[in-house]
Structures are given as C-alpha cells and as structure tokens.
Subunit: 293 residues, 6 copies
C-alpha cells in the first residue's frame, strides 16, 4: 500500500533484468526550428497510457505477457546539443551491451542519431529503415550540422550509400531529393510502395527502424511540429511497421516527433501509444518465438 508512485508506459512494468525491450524517453527538442514541444512526448504518453488496452485485436497478443522495462526520461541539458546526444548514446549503448533492445521515444528526430550510432557500433553492418514525411538529408541547417533536418544525412555519414531505406517522404529541399536520387539513400516518396524490396535488401543485416510520426497524414496525426498533408493512414503505418518487425532483424528502434502541445484533443498521443503497443507486441513476439522454436 505504501509504495511510491511509479508511472510507466502501458503495461511496461517489467524489471530491467527480466526484460527484452527497454523503452526510454529523450525529451529533447532544442534544434526544432518551427514549433517545439516534442520534449513532452514520452511523459505525456506515459500519463495517457491508462486510456489504452493492453490487448491487441490486430495481433491477438497482450502486453501483460510481454517483458518490457520503462527507464523513464533521460534528464537532458536543453541547449547543449552535443552533451544531450552523448547521454542518449550512452544509454542506448548500455542497453545494447546488455543484449536488450532499446526503443527510444523522442523528442525531435535528432535524438535518433546517437541511438543509431550506438547500434552501428555494435552492428557495423547495420541498415536503417526510415519512415518520415521529410527527407532529413540536409548537410546543414541554419549553419548547424546537428539538427532535426540533417539527422539522416548524419546517419549516412556513419553508414554510407545504400544502407538507408526511406518511405513516405514528401518534403525536402530540391538538393536533398537530388542527393538521394544519386543513390545515397533508397528514397520511396509518399507511400510504403517498395517495402517488400527493402525488407529483402536488408534481410541479412541488423536493422534500426526509425519512425518519424509525421509520416502519418495530418488528419491522423495533427500533433506534430511540421505537418505535411498527403501522408499515410494509421492502418498503413501499423501494417508497414509490423511487416518490418516480422521481416527484419530489428536491433533497436525509435518513434519521434509527437508534440503534445499541438494535440489538444489527445488523438495524436493515443495514436502514438497504439502504434507503440503494436510494436512492443510484435518485437516481443519475435523475442519469444525463436526461444520456443
């Protein structure tokens, strides 16, 4: 009765030791050029997760059977980008070193960079699958090389040509599109068309899946800083995500760019949580199946 108040994502109340998956929040939005607020995403998702069921009728699986540890939010220094990224890197690297799968909740998209770096350090042959409305391939933005608008370009600095597969993209500078078309990344615009090919292409590699939630159409996901009309539906995104998880060897992943201050009805937070539930169930399923196989 006299326990302290513990707040976790829905059903993620495993201990670190017993868990396969480690969720943690990176409340960082300092390079956001437009409307900040993604720093509140993980915290708001935790607080609102009591509105969601643990059971998925899509997969007929229940989070109550999963073993997920929620590490809470990192305490990041706002305005000191380099140090914030270091802290995220360190956390992700520790989780990976312990043989667990880190699932990072942003924050702006830049927080993916140190997590991907940690994954690439452990898995040098890493590939990245990237869902987003935006290319994120600028080399610099307002003079900054570390920015939400440059993050996938920085990932390319690590991985090089042909290892990044982008879906749903519908916005960017002309130069970014041309650079992608030169073969640096596999950019599929607007939809998930070509997903099977990408899964085939990465089948022998460890994969990092990074989901910028603004890949969703603004009707389905208004709560984000740079909404782009013409996006995918929730069901499209959920199905694509499950296909990736079941078709690839996911070693780490993230979900970024939910901005609760732009979500007055709470639907975007609820949608992010539902996608998170489906991801956790599918990831956990993959952990369990090989063991029982």
């Amino acid at each position: 009765m006299w326990n302290r108040n513990i707040e976790t994502f829905l059903g993620c109340d495993g201990t670190y030791e017993e868990s396969h998956i480690v969720i943690f929040g990176a409340p960082f939005d300092s390079t956001t050029s437009y409307r900040p607020g993604t720093r509140f995403a993980a915290r708001t998702m935790r607080a609102e997760s009591y509105g969601l069921e643990t059971y998925s009728p899509y997969q007929d699986l229940d989070l109550e059977d999963a073993r997920v540890f929620d590490g809470g939010d990192l305490e990041l220094p706002f305005g000191d980008t380099a140090r914030a990224l270091d802290m995220i890197h360190s956390y992700a690297a520790n989780v990976l070193a312990d043989g667990r799968l880190p699932l990072l909740i942003g924050g702006e998209h830049l927080v993916s960079l140190p997590a991907i770096r940690a994954a690439a350090e452990k898995h040098p042959d890493l590939a990245v699958i990237h869902f987003d409305a935006h290319t994120d391939l600028r080399d610099e933005y307002l003079g900054n090389r570390l920015s939400h608008a440059t993050v996938i370009r920085r990932v390319w600095d690590i991985l090089g040509d042909g290892r990044i597969h982008q879906f749903g993209i519908r916005s960017g500078e002309r130069a970014e599109w041309e650079w992608a078309r030169e073969g640096h990344t596999n950019l599929r615009p607007f939809t998930f068309d070509g997903l099977a090919g990408a899964i085939e292409a990465v089948k022998d590699r460890p994969v990092y899946l990074t989901i910028d939630l603004d890949v969703l159409d603004p009707s389905a996901f208004p709560g984000t800083g740079t909404p782009e009309a013409g996006g995918v539906t929730f069901v499209d995104l959920m199905k694509a995500t499950l296909r990736i998880i079941h078709g690839c060897n996911i070693v780490a992943c993230d979900m970024v760019e939910l901005s609760p201050p732009l979500d007055p009805s709470g639907t975007s937070t609820a949608t992010a949580l539902k996608l998170l539930r489906e991801m956790l169930l599918a990831l956990e399923e993959d952990f369990i199946r090989p063991q029982t196989a």
Copy 2:
C-alpha cells in the same frame, strides 16, 4: 415577438403531440474513467445546429418536413448513477408508451442501458445493433458493474446470447474478445463488414440502434474521450446507419460519446449533427412511407 428563447436541435421544433420522434439529451458522464465532457454533447449540438442545413443532398429530404420534438436535456444528478439511469429509463419508457420513437443523445455510453431496458420491456424480442470502437463487454470495471465499459455486457444480461450485433470494434480486454467469440455477441471487428447478415438476422425483431461515435476514426471525430485509431470514415458510418434504418424495424436509438471539450475546432460536433440529421430524415421517412403506402 415577445416569446421566450427556445433552443432545439436543428429543425426539431415540433410539438410532442404531433411528433413521431422524440429527441432528448442525457448529460451524464460520471463513470467516464478517462476524460469526461460528454455531458456537454446535447447542449453543444443544439447551440451549434444553426451551422447546418435542414436539407440532405444524400437523401433529398428536408428536416423542415419532419415532425421531431426536442425534449431538451434531462436534469440528472451527477455522481448518483443509479438514480440518473432511472430517470433516463423513465423518460424513454414514457416516450415508447406514447408510441413515439426515442432518440437519446449521450452522455457516456452507459446512458444507453436504461433506454435499451425500456425498449426491451416494451419489445421482449428486441435486438441491438451496436457501432463502437470498444467492446464494452467487461463484467465490471474498477469494481463497478455500471460503467461505460460494461454497458453492452449489462445489455446482454437483459437480452442474452445472439441478440447483440457489434460493428467497428477494435479495442477491449482479451477476456472481452474471448467472451464475445464464445457466441455471446456477434462481434465484427474494425469495419461494417457483415452488415447485411446482421440486418437479415434481425429482420423479424424490433431493433435498438446504439451508436458510440468513437467508432469513427479519430481523424474524422477527434472529440471523444477514448479515441482509437483505425476506425471508419464518416461516409461509411452514414451509409451503414441508413442501411440499418431502412432495413430494420428501429424502435429506439441513441448517439453517444461526443465530448465537446475535446473538440476545439468544432468539427466533431458538426459531424455528429450531420449524422443526426441523416438519422432523423431516414427515421421520419420510414414513419411516413407506411402511412402513404
């Protein structure tokens, strides 16, 4: 010139005596576990109804030709669930006893229970068609047997197996889904697939239609307390509703779970009003056609 200020739903300015249909509001949300606010639904719909036309280009019918009485909102005691349900039951039973069709505007979904009970008392062979994102089949919720999360289970207590047809469902506890699958209800997940079969199944019965508006996708209907991504479109819902009304013998119906505080743009209220207009026109048409036939 010196009349008092009368406020009704759009075009619902008939007298009780001359009307076929009686709309009334049940501003009750005391068992809402997540975000309350549905108590304001009927009042807000009335206030906003001047933004809608009385004419439907979908049905080529006009509310100006319909005879609908708006009884206003019941004055329900918040926090005394049993008494509030009694008052709703009494109102609905009186309307039914007078040979009129009650159309209840919630409030949370629990308000449907006493209206369905009244309908089942008059029509012991009643069937229920249920549009919702949620199963609402828990036997109890937080120790409560009377809750928005248990309402259809309580309806089953009245009607028994095979008389409840559920559509659009995409959320619930695993136990609820399993209980439904045991044959207690006919649960069709996610969409309106199977609607023709349900209409056929209830063709010899009086039917109560209960519409939880969160069956709509949150993109189409953000203004509700427990939004569930992956729902139906407005046009889907409108068409399914009209098919039910024209294909079944509707004796009473309701529309619940609009929450105006979660609808800052007013689109959800406008959408609920438009569905209400289409329902009223279709119901009235069915009243008139037999008379002229």
Copy 3:
C-alpha cells in the same frame, strides 16, 4: 543588414514589376454568420510559411524559380461590406490591367465576388470553376444579398447560365439544389467526378478558379467555420487543382475560408500553404512554358 522586416508568403519575394502572379490577402469576414476568423488567414499563412519547403516533389519544381509578388493584406473596413468589396475589386482590376494574374487569399467566400467581377470585366466570356462544400447559391441570406452564402448566386448574376462549374458540393438549402438542377450551374455533388467534362466545356474560355477550402473533409481541414463531413482528401484536391490549372486558361483565382482560430494544431494552415505552393508552381509553369515554346 539594416533592412526593415518584410514578411511574405513562402518564396513570394519578387517585385511587382518582374512577377507573373500577384498574391494579396482580403482579410474580411463580416458576413460570416457562424464562426468568424477567416480575416486572419493570409496573415497567419505568411507567418507560418517558414515551415514549408519551396520545392515540390509532386511537380519537381521550386518556388525559388518562380516570380511571385506578395502585395500583403488590403486594409479593409470591417462592417462596410460594399466598400470592402470595392477595394478588392479595384486591386484585382489593377493587377489584371497590368497583365498579371491575381491570386486572392480570403477571408470569407464573399471576397471572391469582386475579384470575379474584375475578371469578367476584362474577359466577358469568363467561366468559373468552383470547389466548395456549400452551394453558395442563395438569393439572399438573413435579408442580405451580399453574403458568403449568396456569393456564387451573385456570380451567376454576372455570368448567367452554364458558365459556373461546381465540385465537391454537399450542403445547401433544398431550393438552392433545385435551382442548380434547373441548369443554372453545373453542380457535381460530393467529389470531383466530371472534372474532365468541365475542363472540356471551358476550354475556349478564360477561367477563374475559386477554391473554398471547406471542400476538404474536416479531417484534412478542421480550421474552417462551417465544416461539412464527407469531403475530399488533400491529394484529391491537389490533383484536381493541378488538372484545372494545366487544362484551362486560368486568368485569376482564389483560395478562401481558412480560419486560423479554429486550427489549434496548425495543420489546416500548413495544408492551405501546401496547396498554395502547388498552385503557384503550376501557374508559373504555364506562364513560362509558352514563352520557351
């Protein structure tokens, strides 16, 4: 370094002299009967345009290559409808007289009337293509002949039968629909079905394109005063708009009824801006192609 603060629509920083297209705002919503706020549309779109890229991956064109002048917002007298319309007329007529294409940003739909009048004065054989949720064909509204609800009827006063092509319409009084069906306008309900026929019908005429953004479904565009469920998607609208621009001889156009106070997440403003970008790129393309041909 010491220049004053100039604020324009995204990339619209040409001089008047060098530009083909002249954008200007008409911040007028005095006859709006429901929820005012469209007066803030142009100003808000300018302020938010830094969130959008100048490059379109849909058309592979870049606004940086276009020559568009942004004339800012007219200073209109609120409450003096006649004089406000005169000022809009005067501005549009001047732009047309200079051989440039006026692109008007409303404001409520009534602001289209003086711009269409100016276009019809220069081009007596003008046709109008009209995207909207509402017929706007009342002869008067609350005793007013000049109203957002009568604007297309007033356009008919100028153009007469058969010259107005309406798409996406799904709301109006019965009398308006009947009047349209008598052949006064070519009204296609609900969708863009029939667009090819309309383009064929106007192929020898100068065309004014007027887009009431509430033609979009409220899920895609909540930020408008009279949302009507059952509308088109953004991609539908964008494609229809580009087909019109490339298939017709557009001499003037407008985009009306964005209401920023009803757009708390900013998605409607972003969506309007994206459509504006696509329109500008397509219009500019048509200016340039004949020159190089």
Copy 4:
C-alpha cells in the same frame, strides 16, 4: 413534462408582460477590427448561467424574486451594419415604449448606439455614463463612421457636449483625448475617481449606462478583443455600477464586448454573468422600492 427546451439567462424566466426589465442579446461584431467573437456573448452567458447562484450575498437579494424577461438574441444580418442597428433600435424602442427597461447584451460596442438613440428619442434630456478602457471617440475608423471605435462620438452627435461621462478610459488616439479635453465629454482616465460628481451632475436626467467590460483589467477579464492592461478590478466595477444604479434614474443600459472564444477558462463569462446578476438585482430593487414607498 413535454415542454420545449427554453434557455434564458439565470433566473430571467418572467413573461414579457409581468417583467420590469427586458434582456436581449445583439450578436453583432461585424465592425470589430481586431479579434471578432462578441457575437457569441449572450448565447454563451445563457448556456453558462447554470454555474451561478441566483442569490447575491453582496446585496442580500435573490433573482428568484425579480421579474425579468429574456427575449433571446436578435437575428441580425452580419455585414449589413445599417440594418442590424435598425433592428436593435426597433427592439429597444418597443421595450421603452412599453414602459420597460431594456438591458442589451452585446456584441461589440457599436450595438449600444441604436439603444442609446432609442432612449434619447424617448428621453431627450438623456445622459450617458460610459465605462470603458477605450475612448471610442474617433470620428471615423478605417473610413467608417459606424464602428466600435466611433460609437461614443456618434452618441455625442445625438446628445452634444457635457452629457457623456466616461470612466476607466486608458486608451485612444491623441486626437480623441484632446477632443474630450475640449469639454465634449467628461473623461476620467484609468479609474472611477469622480464618480460621485458624475452622479450629482446627472441627478435630474434619465441615464443610460453603457459598460464595455474591457474597462476591467485583463487579469480579471481576459475574454475580450482589445485587452488593455491597467484596468479596474471586478469589485471596483461592481461597486461603481451599483452606485450608479442606486444614485441615478437608469432608463436603459447595456453590457458589451465579452468575447467567449478568447475565454478558454470561462472566467470572463462567469464574471460578466455575476455583474449582470448584481445589475438586475439593483435595477429590480429600484423598481420595487418606489412602488412600496
């Protein structure tokens, strides 16, 4: 049981015949240059009045004992200023002709003009007491002579020098202040200092009291279109209002410029309602006392 839904201001459920006071709403804000929304004031106040008690501990009086008729909102044509003002004038003149006291709820301040005109037609020696943050003494505004910013100048056109007493004023053009200082009006800036003198000055005249609620400090009344820091407190305003009512011969009055869309917490609406209650109680008290004297 089967009555239609009547909605009135708190406790204002008298019939026209039996009432001393007639409240009516003038939902007009077409000349508002800044942020519209006052059209919703009367309607919102009615809807929210269930949150207020009928009893005043300040005056130890109860609205249940008062006889007040609520005539609802006039149906005014937006955008046709002249006709809207005519309709307000006509309503107020009728109420005055019947020996009743009209209490007008705005709308923007311009709605006071026709009500004052009606009062001055019946009472040629009328004086006006004016509470406001703004002078409202422009001769024209954006070329308009009929505007919320010119309303008291137009009142001066009717009444001439020395009959207008202004309190709480803290904003205006230099020319307006100079014009007032020339003796055209008795302008007391910032506070209610000098109220006793004004009451003395009008003691032999019928008085119209016009209260622009933005005389309150924005901390006490954020819900208005042109908030001006440095205003009076609610208790100051209530006391000044009661002193005027009990010290003068009030023949008509109004309360304007509440803008519900700018009042997300509802405190401004609640504050306006409380002031209205106190005004009604004090006015009714003055009706009754002479009768019993």
Copy 5:
C-alpha cells in the same frame, strides 16, 4: 541507473516510514455539476512540479529538508460515489492511525468529507477551517445528499454547530446563508477578516484545514470549475494558510478543485503547487520544532 520511473510531487520523495506527512491524490469529480476535470489535478501537479523550486524565500525553508511521502493517486471508481468515499476514508484513516498527517489533493470538494470523517473519528473534538468561494452548505443538490455542493453540510452532520469556520465565502443559495447565520457555522464572507478570532476559537482543538482553491480570485486562479469573481489574492491565501498552520494544531488537511483542463496557461497548477510547497514547509516545521524544543 535501471530504476523505474517514479513521479512524485516536488521533493516529496521520502519513504512512508520516515515521513511526517503523507500526500495522496483523490481523482474524483463525479458529482461536479458544472465542468468536470478536477480528477486530473494531482497527476498534473506531479507532472508540472519540476517547474518549481524546493526552496521558499517566504519562509527560508527548503523541501529538501522535509520528509514527505507521496502515495500517488487512489484508483477510485468513477460514478460510484459511496465506494469512492470509502476508499478515501480508509486511506486517510490508515495514515492517521500511523501517526502521520494526511494531506489530500482533490478532486472535487466532496473528497474532503471522508478525510474529515476519518480525522473526526480519531479526534472527536475536531474543528474545521474552510477556505472557499462557496458555502457548500446545501442539504441536497439535484436530489443528492453527497455532492460537492453539500460537503460542508455533511461535515456539520458530523461536527455540529460552531465547529466550522468559513472564510472567503461569496456564493451560495439564500437558504444556505441564512442557515449559516443561524449559528451553525461561523461564516465570514469575502475575505479572511476574522481569522485571528477563529484561530483563538479552535486553539484547544485538533484542526482540519480544507482549502477549496476557488477561494482565490479567478484572475489568480482561472483553472477551476466554478470561478467566482471577487476573491482573495494568492499572497492573502498563502499568509492566511501559514497563520492557520502555525497558530493551530493541524491534524489533516486538503487542497481541492484545481481543474487542469481549464488551465491552458498552467498558471493555476503552478499556483496550487506553490501553495502546497508553503503548506508542506510550514507543517514540517511544526513537526520539527516541538521535537527540538
């Protein structure tokens, strides 16, 4: 590093065993007749408490030196008032039985009743000091005897005449005011005048302090369901609270009626947190001082 995510009120991270004071939340607002939302108060205060310092320059004390346990929010059944009150009673009684001081965060004001009952069971000579805008002395409300509007009357059922001291009151039914004036409670209207007398009157009794935050003026505290203009300032309330704590023998206390959905700027939550900090510091000081004396 691998601890679960614990969320407490600012600085309240003591264990139950070592703490003098036990904070707990009662997220219940089922009887709220007007605008619900107080159920979110404790949770929101915890989430926002990182915006406040632990140090008070008013008292020169620091929460880091205090020993306060935060028990989180009770899981109360919405809509089952009796059972919810029982659970609150049980928790408070347990804390009291352990010799600790319960500090309850509402929720609506009705949650105070079971806590006061628990305190009166342990301390039969209990007195209550009550800060509020509203009398809360109805015998029933909408037929309910257990309601936020009857809570102090129910407390009187327990304590009887002369043991309840009310301050800041400015709203209620006439009958409530008359009933209080008959001597059942010591009701001081509008302000804290008479506080010294009340402290003197209760000096030999254990005291329960119940603070309905709407005693504050709406300018200082807009985030509450039934705002009442004419209230006290934050500094007034803080000083009165500290005088009570230091002048009386407080055995339990509460703070109720913060409604986060009505607090879009977050100032009301911040203000409640600041008052809570000052209360905790003063209460802790009184625990420590006697020990060192």
Copy 6:
C-alpha cells in the same frame, strides 16, 4: 501601391539611419527547461501590434513622433547556443557602435547575456537593473553554464560584485539566495521596494535594464513558461520602468520571456506591447530632451 508587406512593431517604422532606438528580436529558447515558446514572442508582438494605440495617456506622448527602427528577428540556429549568442552579441555591438540604443525582445532570458556583454564592452562601468521572478544566479543548470537559469550569474562574471540590482525576485535555489545575500548582487525580493536607492547607486554609470516579464504576477501575465504567483501588477511594473528610464542613463535594454503559446487570450502579448510602447516613449523622450536643452 505595389510595396512589399512590411511588418514592424507598432509605429516603429523609422529607417535605421534616422532612428535613436533599434528594436530587434532574438527568437531563441533552446535552453528553456520547462515549456518552450518564447521564440515566438517578437513575431507575435509585431503581428498583434495593430491592436494597440500609438498614443500613451500615461505620458501624453505618441509613438508617431518617435524614431524607432525595427530590425526584425535574427535568424538564429536552434540548438547551437554558443553561435546564437554570438549573433546576438554582434548585432547589439553594431547598434551600440553606431550610437544607437538596442532594445532586444527575447526569447528566453539567456539572450540578454550577449547584449549585456556588448554593452559592457562599450561601457566598462556598466550597471544592470534586473526585474524578474527568478534569481537566475545558478552557476550551472543541468550541467550547463549557459542557461536561462544562470544568465545573471554569467552577467556577474562580467561585472563583478555590487553592479547588479535585482527586483521582484521570489524564486530560486537556497544557494542562489545565499550567494546573493553575500553581497554579490543587490537582491530585493517580491516588490520594487528600494528602487530609489538603486537609481541613486547607479546614477553615475551607464545602465542596462533587463526585464523578465515573469516579474509580473501570473494573473497579469499568464503567458510565460515559469509563472510564479505573488508578483507585481502591470501598473507597478510600468511605473518602476519609467522611473528607471528617466532616473538612469540607459544604454541598452531588453524584455524577455513572453511565450505566446501559453497566452490563449492574447492578454500577455497585449501587455508586453503596452509596456514596450511606454518604454519606447520614455527612452525617446530622453533622447530628445537633452538635445533641446
């Protein structure tokens, strides 16, 4: 007629050459630990400045007579704190080198640091007067030495003991208060008491005035990230500011921490603008008077 759209603060339409005062915005909030949004302050103030008069009845002066240049907003790189501060420093230093007075609009309080540094470089004997709710004297915050919470400590690094005068302070860590009390700054808590002494103390020095708008009570200024109850009123702040300007030799100044996303009613923006108007008028007056003397 064909000029581009120029947007400036109210009446600040002078050229750089002819102006005494140069306003510029620093849209930076990357180190904000709580709720970001101050980046929008200057832009929102410009957009809303049409709601304010140019004339001040407090000073009987008119901005139309002032010569103020508005340089717009700097284009700062979010997330790269060092470079952003460099850009601010450079702009302020240039303005100072040209013999003009820079008036910086934040942004978070950290933006004051480079402006003060520029002023101290030109005026080595500079003193700082600081209005704020918070001490801002931490030596580091979350490991950061450059933060909104450390800004005045960094100013002390430049100026040393006894040259910083703080007013209105009511929040900080215990260590900050103790450090101030050791004589490093002259900290006056809660109010402007002691202002005359500070003016006397700095009478022979050039003075930088930095106003963190959260010195205002949240009732008067809700639109800020870390509201602190118990602050000063608008009239207090305006009077203190004018006393400083007229009593000291101001060489540069700023106004920071307005956060428009937290200001749904717009009252905080309007209040900041009004204070800005009064500051500009008083500063300009001081420029002109010596010239004519």
